[in-house]
Structures are given as structure tokens and as C-alpha cells.
Subunit: 133 residues, 2 copies
């Protein structure tokens, strides 16, 4: 079972075969080998897909992920450029985490206040007001 079919890869990765075909079409994964017309994947693809999913869950678009996992065009100065890209992403992720934590706090506070909606909270000018301004 060295070479996997679309169906096998899909079920192991928790995707639909159509998603894999789509990823291939748009260049997110390399074109798979064909055996009498059917795609055959090395199990390595599972790592790649797991990584992609993780990045997606972290809020990256497929366009960003393509750059992240598929490297750069041939004429790229390589390592330096990757470092720059990664650190830029890192900053974005950090910013996102901060906003998430702010949201977390809004929710948490809403549990301890008697407003029926966050909106009502905001309009009342409670402590939330300072955070959403």
C-alpha cells in the first residue's frame, strides 16, 4: 500500500476527493502520478495536507498557503526570502492571536454581566466600550 488513490488520501486526510482534485488544479499540491488515468499519491502527501489544514485553521488563505508550502518561483533568492515571508506571517499570526484574545475577553465578560446581548453591553457603555472603540 505504498501508493494511495484519491479516495484513500481523502479519507485519511478528512477531505473529499474533489478537494484534492481542486488543490491539484490550483497548484497547491503537485500533479499526482497517474496509473491508467487515476491519481496515485505517496503517503508523504498526508503530511503536506495536515500542514495545509493547520495553516487554514489558523486563518491563512489557500493563496498564502501555496506560497508557504510550495516555495517560490525559480528566480528567488531562496533562504532570505523565506525567512522574511515566515516572519511576516508570524507577525500576522501574533496580531490575530491578540484580537482573538480580545474577543475572548469580551465573551468572558459577557458571561458575568446581565446584558442580554453584547450589543446591549456596548450601548450601555460598560467596560466593553473601552475595548471595542
Amino acid at each position: 500500500m505504498q501508493q494511495l488513490t484519491v479516495g484513500e488520501v481523502a479519507s485519511r486526510a478528512g477531505l473529499n476527493p474533489s478537494a484534492l482534485r481542486y488543490y491539484e488544479r490550483v497548484g497547491l499540491i503537485p500533479r499526482a502520478l497517474r496509473v491508467s488515468g487515476q491519481r496515485r499519491y505517496s503517503p508523504d502527501i498526508l503530511n503536506r495536507l495536515a500542514l495545509m489544514r493547520m495553516a487554514q485553521e489558523a486563518g491563512f488563505t489557500l493563496a498564502e498557503i501555496r506560497v508557504l508550502v510550495s516555495g517560490f518561483p525559480e528566480d528567488t533568492p531562496a533562504a532570505e526570502r523565506w525567512q522574511e515571508l515566515a516572519s511576516r506571517k508570524l507577525a500576522e499570526v501574533d496580531a490575530l492571536i491578540q484580537r482573538m484574545q480580545a474577543m475572548r475577553q469580551v465573551l468572558q465578560e459577557s458571561l458575568h454581566c446581565d446584558c442580554l446581548t453584547l450589543d446591549a453591553c456596548a450601548e450601555r457603555g460598560s467596560s466593553l466600550k473601552r475595548k471595542v472603540g
Copy 2:
């Protein structure tokens, strides 16, 4: 300047007027007053919009935000249900933050390794492998 026009609200909230009209159409904000056909908003709307943006940035869909900011249908047991909703959202946010932090770590590590792409890292079976499996 007590009552704001769409254009004014939009520019203060960093949105397009079309977005405000859209929000109204889909019930995310209440139908604005009209003065000779034109929308007029109380400045309160800005709080609401800021809150909505925050929730959006934290990954909520507009459908979720509608529930979050606009309360529930009339027949709702009110407070308890809101508490439950908020704590459910809180758990989701927490999970998202964790995944973001995992992503953060992947990025951080990629800065200190010599692979050219995260994909290459994963295939090499470096420390990333444990995290994305």
C-alpha cells in the same frame, strides 16, 4: 451632527456604504430611520459596528454575529440561553487560539531551520512532524 448619513457612518467605521446597506438587508443592524428616503444613524451604530468587526476578525461568520449582537427570537428563555451561547463561543475561541498558537510555533521553528519551505520541513520528518500529525 447627531444623526449620521451612510457615508459618514461608513467612513468612520472603515466600511463602504454598500456594506452598511448589506448589513441592514440581512438584519445585522436594525433598519435605519429615513429622512426623505436617506438613512440616518445614531452614533451608537459605531459601537455596534466596531463590535461586529471585532467578532469578524476573531473568525465569526455574519450569521453567528447576528445571533451574538441581535439577541434571540421572542420566544427565547433569555438569559440562560445567552449564557450558554456565550460559553460555547468562548470554547470555540479558545480552541481557535490554541490552533493559532500551534501555527505560530510552526512558523517560529521554520525561522530556525534550514528548510526552504514548511513542506520540505514536514517531509524531512523534523520536529514539525510531531505537531502536524
